[in-house]
């Protein structure tokens, strides 16, 4: 049985009449990478601030590593690393000086801190610029410096707010790799983002926020089944005569056929029907060029979910 690292019960935050987070229930287990998704202003940052004890909830309770962040903020903050949205550093200080200030605030002994800082900076690929002023750092370097700062603490849980926002694709991929390597060390990671394909690439489970409510929760493929219905999607490239599409539609278990190009079809299927589809193409006298099972795309789940919501709203 795995240990629960983070637990929110009925967590609510109101600003006057506006409810930023509405009755949130959530648990995250040790070693998981959890993604908080949602459009801007859906309540992701507010949730994170409440989990850290930086903002007081209007109702409900939070347990982080078994502690209440409002009641024992020092123990929680000593064991949880937080990478804020667009992290800032003291520009006039060097990378090493910035981190050694944080280490002192954490009460890490000086000599111990020096070795940990060097280690963390090297791991984040900042070894060569350790003694350069942070003022000259790029956005990606600052983000990595932020993660290095967190590693100096040796945290059990890391919470990141929009970690890849504003990074170029290469830097973002590198950053996602670093998140994966954290998971392999058993560190629990929670990250918020609206860049879905990146979240999908690293997260074990995701929660989808909409207007302060957590509307979907689970692993990506499970969400796909919930939202997209069938869940399996097969991509076929085949040349053949006009009734090829009809032949594909007759395969048992195929729910829908869409023609996306002259020789390109997308099938929604109840299960993985690749073998049956291949046979159908050949039997119909077509030339099979490619056949692939498409991983359900979070972006699509997201778009489809909000379409359904809008349709429901119109219906009622």
């Amino acid at each position: 049985m795995s240990e629960i690292v983070l637990q929110a019960d009925g967590l609510t935050k109101r600003y006057g009449d506006f409810t930023a987070v509405d009755n949130l229930n959530l648990t995250v287990e040790r070693g998981e990478v959890f993604g908080l998704l949602g459009p801007n202003g859906a309540g992701k940052t507010t949730t994170i601030l409440m989990l850290l004890g930086l903002t007081e909830p209007s109702a409900g309770s939070v347990r982080v590593l078994g502690l209440d962040p409002a009641r024992s903020p020092l123990s929680v903050k000593a064991r949880v690393g937080y990478l804020p949205d667009q992290v800032g550093f003291y520009d006039q200080l060097t990378a090493r000086e910035n981190l050694s200030y944080t280490a002192r605030l954490n009460g890490i002994p000086r000599r111990e801190a020096a070795t940990r800082i060097e280690e963390a900076l090297k791991r984040m690929g900042l070894g060569a610029v350790m003694d350069k002023r942070v003022g000259a750092f790029s956005r990606g370097m600052r983000q990595r410096l932020g993660l290095a700062e967190i590693l100096v603490k040796r945290p059990e849980l890391i919470i990141m707010d929009e970690p890849t926002l504003g990074l170029d694709p290469e830097a973002a991929l590198e950053f996602l790799d670093m998140i994966r390597s954290l998971r392999s060390e058993g560190i629990t990671v929670m990250l918020s983002s609206h860049l879905l394909h990146q979240v999908q690439a690293v997260c074990d489970r995701v929660g989808l926020f909409s207007q302060g409510k957590l509307v979907l929760l689970g692993p990506v493929d499970e969400l796909a089944r919930q939202v997209l219905g069938g869940g399996h999607r097969i991509l076929v490239e085949a040349e053949g005569d006009a009734d090829l599409a009809a032949a594909l539609g007759r395969v048992d278990g195929v729910l829908a056929v869409r023609r996306e190009g002259p020789a390109r079809f997308v099938l929604d299927a109840a299960s993985d029907l690749r073998a049956a589809v291949a046979r159908a193409v050949v039997e119909a006298g077509g030339k099979l060029l490619a056949l692939a099972s498409e991983v359900p795309n979070l972006e699509e789940i997201y778009a489809r979910y909000f379409q359904k919501e809008a349709a429901n709203a119109r219906a009622t």
Partner: protein, 334 residues
């Protein structure tokens, strides 16, 4: 880890408000050390020190020119280094009345909003420290920096005095100068707390600096005039009776003492001029039997300036407390 009984969430929130884990001053000295290091290496500090040193050297040099003639006659020669001016230069204390507020405001105006603008605030508060430690650490770093600068200037003046006048300061003179140093730091503390308050209220450092300087300008230039007008409105002179005139003068003095500048200037007079026996109004009847011109002992002079010193410290604490309350309630989102 703390062993805590599992209580209902509501009860936990209530109890959490009443007693917090650990000391509120965890990390205080780390903040003080970092902020002081920043100040002492900053270009801003260098400029301020340069101005102060030039003002001190200029005024004290001209003071010694005049004082050389009276060596041996004046028992408080060293105190005169601070209070003697020669046209067109005012005395060094005259400079201090406006140099200290400007230095203090310059140190404090971006203490809190600077962290927000650099986007370091949320990262800082995600570390295991309370906001108390951060705010007090910043204030103390400013105060220590100010004290360091002033102490250096004091020593420079003393050194120049010994070199140019050829006599060392006596014990009582040294004590009076040290009390004066303490008074000046307290005076700086008021403006430091004001600057800190402005930096909490205003999001932009420039706005905070302007607001703090405007307050200073108000007390330096306008408060004196305003105090006179207010006093005339509250205690109007209808018949020209002496009691009316006395009441008016007392009201005006009470009002001007709201200004930290007045408090500082009056207490300075008490500490550096041992002959001064009262900072308020003196009626001829009260002077009966007094030996005019005879210096007061140190303890009496301190007693004279004591309410002023306490008033300055109280004002600093009040301003700091106000800033503290505002900062604790501030939503940290950046």
């Amino acid at each position: 880890m703390l062993a805590q009984p599992d209580t209902a969430p509501g009860a936990a929130t209530l109890a959490g408000g009443a007693r917090r884990e650990g000391s509120p001053w965890t990390g205080l000295w780390a903040v003080v050390a970092k902020e002081m290091a920043d100040y002492l290496t900053s270009a801003r500090m260098f400029i301020l020190e340069l101005i102060t040193v030039i003002a001190a050297a200029g005024t004290v040099f001209t003071a010694t020119e005049r004082l050389r003639e009276s060596v041996g006659q004046d028992p408080f020669l060293f105190l005169r280094l601070f209070t003697t001016g020669r046209d067109p230069l005012p005395a060094f204390v005259g400079f201090l009345v406006f140099l200290v507020p400007i230095i203090s405001i310059a140190l404090a105006f971006d203490m809190v909003n600077g962290e927000f603008n650099q986007r370091t605030m949320s990262r800082l508060l995600a570390q295991p420290i309370y906001r108390d430690a951060l705010l007090l650490g910043k204030f103390l770093a400013g105060l220590f920096t100010l004290a360091l600068v002033l102490t250096t200037i004091w020593l420079l003046i003393a050194g120049m005095g010994i070199l140019r006048l050829g006599v060392p300061p006596g014990g009582e003179e040294a004590a009076r100068i040290l009390w004066f140093l303490l008074l000046t730091v307290a005076y700086g503390g008021v403006w430091l707390a004001l600057g800190l308050l402005c930096s909490i209220v205003a999001r932009q450092p420039a706005t905070a600096a302007l607001a703090a300087l405007a307050t200073w300008l108000f007390f330096t230039v306008f408060w004196g005039m305003l105090a006179r007008m207010l006093a005339q409105a509250i205690r109007p002179v209808r018949f020209g009776l002496p009691s009316e005139l006395l009441a008016l003068a007392q009201m005006e003095q009470a009002l001007t003492r709201i200004s930290p500048n007045t408090l500082y200037a009056e207490a300075t007079v008490a500490l550096l001029n041992p002959e001064v026996r009262s900072l308020g109004l003196v009626l001829p009847s009260q002077l009966e039997g007094a030996i005019l011109g005879a210096p007061l002992p140190l303890a009496e002079s301190i007693r004279l300036g004591w309410p002023h010193l306490v008033g300055l410290i109280a004002a600093a604490i009040l301003l700091f407390a106000l800033g503290y309350v505002l900062f604790q309630r501030r939503e940290i989102r950046a």
